[in-house]
């Protein structure tokens, strides 16, 4: 690991990204250890195990052999799959406290809040070749410093525990998109994409790029509705339909794949499977009809899909 950081082969940007992973991983491990110490609920052991092993993979993934990472991910999945990753007992700050701090800091609080986006833009403008991911690292460092200057009550433990409250809130669902990418890879390795292509190939006439685009876009919508998430769909549909029916005919891959992803989101708008977006918010708002949000999303979904299909068709011949 030390050789990695001393090696001139890697750029400063790469090394900073690894430092960011180390910090993120250590923070997850901290949350795991805290869960064990605080014992907030009866599932504190699996909850801590989840965050601790996740932290190891996040921090040291670069240096671990892939098999070891895979085993650690599998361990992480056990408490998650059994639904044993539970929220702790961390309370949101009281309204009085927020009001008091707002009176102290005021509208300036938006400055650190805008940090991640602003730093990402600055990096892409002034530090060519640097990873825009580093915007998050710089924003966090600067934001923490500002908050300490503005309000001396913000101690190291404040940041760690408030951060843990947020991480806790997301629970195991946090790694779901990542696990779905892994599933996508497994699907690809097992030839699911090919099987899909075979079936689709029988339905869609090959050789017409516009028909291919419609099939790719609508396929993304349908697959996403089934999975409740466009992330797993994009890999499978790109390998299964995007490449053979669209990109291999010379269509611009950047436009096709990028827009296929957001076509998938039109499917997310329509499915109860995406419960965290379509059902849970309704619960918070106490809606009488739990599908009222999905019903309201039908028209935007159709309009967005049509818009994107037209956009893809217009960009098909743009040189890559």
């Amino acid at each position: 690991m030390l050789t990695y950081f001393l090696s001139p082969e890697y750029t400063i940007s790469d090394k900073l990204v690894q430092i960011m992973y180390l910090l993120s991983g250590f923070f997850c491990m901290y949350c795991g250890v805290r869960a064990w110490i605080v014992k907030a609920n009866k599932h504190f052991l699996p909850t801590g195990l989840f965050w601790f092993t996740l932290g190891i993979v996040v921090a040291f993934g670069q240096w671990l052999p892939p098999l070891a990472s895979g085993i650690l991910v599998a361990i992480t999945c056990i408490p998650a799959a059994l639904g044993m990753v539970k929220r702790g007992n961390l309370q949101s700050p009281t309204k009085e406290e927020q009001q008091k701090n707002y009176n102290k800091i005021g509208m300036k609080i938006f400055i650190p809040a805008f940090g991640a986006g602003v730093f990402s833009i600055l990096i892409s403008l002034f530090l060519p070749g640097w990873s825009s991911l580093l915007g998050s690292l710089f924003a966090t460092i600067v934001g923490v410093i500002l908050l300490v200057i503005w309000n001396r009550e913000n101690k190291a433990m404040t940041f760690l525990e408030e951060g843990r409250r947020f991480l806790d809130m997301t629970s195991a669902v946090y790694i779901m998109p990542l696990l779905l990418s892994c599933l996508g890879t497994i699907f690809t390795n097992a030839g699911v994409g090919d099987a899909f292509a075979t079936i689709f190939g029988k339905i869609i006439p090959q050789g017409n790029v516009y028909i291919g685009i419609v099939a790719y876009a609508v396929g993304m919508v349908l697959f996403t509705m089934i999975m409740g998430n466009a992330f797993a769909a994009i890999t499978v549909m790109t390998v299964g339909i995007g490449v053979p029916f669209v990109i291999s005919l010379g269509a611009n891959p950047l436009y096709m794949v990028t827009l296929a992803m957001t076509c998938g989101y039109c499917g997310t708008l329509l499915t109860p499977m995406a419960a965290n977006f379509n059902i849970v918010p309704g619960v918070y708002l106490e809606v009488k009809d739990k599908y009222s949000i999905i019903k309201m999303q039908l028209i935007p979904s159709i309009l967005m899909l049509v818009f994107q299909i037209i956009y893809m068709c217009l960009m098909v011949n743009k040189p890559f």
């Binding site: 892409s124 843990r164 599933l183 935007p300």
Partner: protein
């Protein structure tokens, strides 16, 4: 064809509303067994993919900041900002919130979200607009407002997020393109998404104004006259 069993597992699992991560794990195992992938290869490919894509967990580091921002009055500041705009209709407030939502998402500003903003701050403000004009809020209108706030956030979130270069969706698009042999920079992906994000903003706001306007006309036909 047997490898499609894993997809069937996903469909059935979600239809039965089982624990999502359990579904993913079972589907992975079924797919590996049917596709003739052994345990070592399965775990190796999971390890490789997980580590290669762990940039999707980048928000962990931001959470250290986000939680303390909330404690230090970010919500209050947001509420104070919205309150400054006077003479709003319900539809305008919901539509403006939808546009702001999308801007917040584009810049990854940790504001927005139904439980933390809409329910405690915006819902009371929106209903207050009707009440301040001397009407009772019609139940159907109240339900419509809730659904509008729900879709506001989703439409803004889905079609705005790809303008934030470090977003997991952008990174997934990049890695998907790389897996089929095309190297692109994240900013190229962001550029492609700009028209989509703008169109979504337009659709989102227009729908809100039309749907809410219809409700206002239906239940409080004299509102405009009274105001004048």
């Amino acid at each position: 064809m047997l490898s499609l069993l894993g997809v069937v597992v996903v469909i059935i699992g979600f239809a039965l509303k089982l624990e999502p991560i359990a579904i993913i794990v079972v589907s992975a195992i079924v797919t590996a067994v049917c596709g003739g992938i052994n345990v070592v290869d399965l775990l190796t490919s999971v390890g490789t993919t997980f580590v290669a894509n762990r940039n999707q967990l980048i928000t962990i580091i931001l959470m250290i900041l986000t939680g303390t921002l909330e404690k230090n009055g970010l919500k209050e500041a947001g509420a104070a900002l919205i309150r400054k705009a006077k003479g709003l209709t319900t539809g305008m407030l919901i539509a403006i919130w939808g546009v702001l939502d999308e801007i917040f998402i584009i810049f990854k500003i940790p504001i927005g979200g139904i439980p933390s903003y809409v329910r405690p701050i915006l819902m009371p403000m929106t209903l207050g607009i009707i009440e301040s004009k001397g009407y009772e809020v019609a139940p159907e209108h109240e339900e419509t407002i809730k659904a509008l706030y729900g879709k506001d956030y989703n439409v803004s979130n889905f079609f705005g997020q790809c303008l934030f270069a470090a977003n997991s969706s952008v990174l997934l698009i990049q890695s998907t393109l790389a897996s089929i042999g095309y190297e692109v920079d994240v900013m190229q992906i962001v550029a492609v998404q700009i028209p989509v994000a703008l169109f979504a903003m337009l659709v989102n706001a227009t729908q809100t104004l039309i749907v809410d306007g219809r409700m206002v006309k239906k239940y409080y036909p004299d509102m405009k006259k009274k105001a004048a």
